[in-house]
């Protein structure tokens, strides 16, 4: 499925020679590929298992000196195809540095920022692209889910998921949304109304409003909307039981989460951090901790592959419910 998405959704957007290079890659490599990186006048590269490897035009891993050098025309062609020849329609996305394509994959881009009144107005002369391959791992939340549910009361805890970048926060959030939406029989949870506020189109990977990932039958997605406003909007309009949002960090996000908690809606969200101390020191997260908003804190890492569950903490007292080293439940 994963490799199908690459060959059917990503390959047609690349110039024909790069597309055939991608199609020449062995299936195993396609399965584990995380990123495709195109930089003007630099080697074509893909990222596998956290390592960046240069590629030749025939689709073979090679040295930097023998790799295919990406031309500016290759970038422009890809940009035309990604934007469906309509850059104007993606002004807002380009301003944020990425476009979501069919299949839920995200294309990040860099170039020259055009500033107006101190704010980024647009990106011009786009010179590098990073095609991040979206991967749905169904069952990613199996291990953590029992810790996030109060089975006696049938309640879902307010949860914060934290990890360094690319350690599987979004994949876990997506699977939590999916499982809660379908309902989790073994834990006594019936299907829930879930709302995803997907500011960066990462969780559901919406393309033209349609989620490209399976996020469950009772999940509403507010795509591309700032989290602070979005959380309030969905609470008012969609009466969800669970709100899912990715990467909180602004004061508005914290205020919206407090509103959601007051409204009795379970909040599951995520934040970057490399360790617990760093997480508590972040101003917005710190504020939420002080007010004891989160009942469960989940830490992930890359130690045993992306999405390795390191620790689950009970929020108020900080008691560990699970630690990877002991694998013991308290």
């Amino acid at each position: 499925m994963h490799e199908d998405s690459i060959t059917k959704k990503i390959a047609p957007l690349l110039p024909p020679h790069l597309s055939s290079c991608l199609l020449n890659l062995p299936t195993q490599m396609l399965k584990s590929m995380e990123e495709i990186r195109l930089r003007s006048n630099s080697p074509l590269a893909i990222s596998i298992g956290g390592l960046i490897v240069p590629l030749s035009l025939s689709g073979v891993i090679t040295s930097i000196s023998d790799a295919y050098i990406v031309l500016r025309e290759d970038i422009l062609y890809t940009l035309e195809m990604i934007s469906r020849h309509s850059l104007f329609a993606f002004e807002e996305e380009i301003k944020n540095g990425f476009i979501t394509i069919s299949g839920g994959h995200r294309v990040g881009m860099c170039g020259k920022a055009i500033i107006e009144d101190g704010r980024i107005k647009n990106l011009r002369h786009i010179s590098s692209m990073n095609i991040r391959i979206a991967r749905q791992v169904k069952g990613a939340a199996d291990k953590v889910l029992p810790y996030l549910i109060n089975q006696k009361e049938g309640k879902i805890y307010h949860t914060l998921i934290s990890s360094p970048p690319q350690a599987g926060k979004t994949t876990l959030l997506r699977d939590l949304a999916r499982q809660l939406s379908y309902g989790v029989k073994r834990l006594g949870i019936s299907p829930c109304k879930v709302a995803i506020v997907d500011e960066r189109s990462e969780i559901a990977g919406c393309y033209e409003g349609i989620p490209q990932m399976d996020v469950g039958p009772y999940t509403d997605i507010l795509d591309g909307c700032p989290k602070g406003q979005g959380i309030i909007m969905v609470i008012r309009s969609m009466s969800p039981q669970v709100v899912v949002a990715d990467e909180i960090g602004k004061r508005e996000d914290a205020e919206a989460i407090l509103e959601a908690v007051k409204a009795g809606v379970a909040v599951i969200t995520s934040a970057h951090s490399s360790n617990i101390d760093e997480l508590f020191q972040r101003p917005v997260i710190g504020t939420l901790f002080k007010r004891s908003v989160f009942e469960r804190i989940v830490f992930l890492s890359n130690k045993r592959g992306p999405g390795s569950l390191e620790m689950v903490l009970e929020g108020e007292k900080g008691l560990p419910l699970y630690t990877a080293s002991r694998k013991g439940e308290c």
Partner: protein, 173 residues
């Protein structure tokens, strides 16, 4: 005798048809310019308010405007979706070249329409809209001129065809 009169009728009919055809070309051009003027306004709306990607906008326009301009927009849509060209500029140019004869467009009309392909490649939405509105104003003027020409010339072409045919018959007989 019968053959002679039969031939005369054929000559007059052919000449009349030629005149009619010329008059029709004037009428089609005038209608095409009007349709373009109308469709560019709709395209500007789609771009400005709907942020609609061009292939979708072109497909929608191909259902809304009259022939033969609808086939121009459908050609744009199919070429964009099939990846027939690298950019909107190329696709726009290719489709106009393909359809210009069936739309009876003159050089002055093409001078207004051709540059729009490059305009669509702009990143700046406001810039595209300004260019579209400018082209719309130019097309409006071109439409008035074409209408004036049609009113003056269309009937003349029909009469000229009919009378020219009759004159040829008289000369030949």
């Amino acid at each position: 005798m019968f053959l002679r009169w039969g031939g005369a009728v054929l000559i007059v009919a052919a000449a009349y048809y030629m005149g009619l055809d010329k008059a029709k070309a004037l009428q089609v051009r005038s209608s095409v310019l009007n349709q373009f003027q109308y469709s560019l306004g709709m395209l500007a709306m789609e771009i400005n308010y709907g942020l609609t990607p061009l292939p979708t906008a072109c497909k929608s326009l191909s259902n809304k405007v009259k022939a033969p301009v609808n086939s121009f927009y459908y050609s744009l849509y199919s070429k964009l979706e099939n990846g027939a060209a690298k950019s909107m500029q190329e696709v726009w140019y290719m489709s106009l070249e393909e359809k210009k004869e069936s739309m009876f467009l003159e050089k002055a009309d093409l001078d207004i329409l051709l540059p729009l392909g490059a305009v669509m490649n702009l990143e700046d939405r406001k810039g595209i809209i300004k260019h579209l509105y400018l082209a719309q104003a130019q097309l409006r003027q071109a439409f008035y001129n074409a209408e004036e020409k049609r009113q003056k010339m269309a009937r003349m072409y029909i009469y000229l065809g009919l009378l020219g045919g009759m004159l040829l018959v008289i000369i030949l007989i």
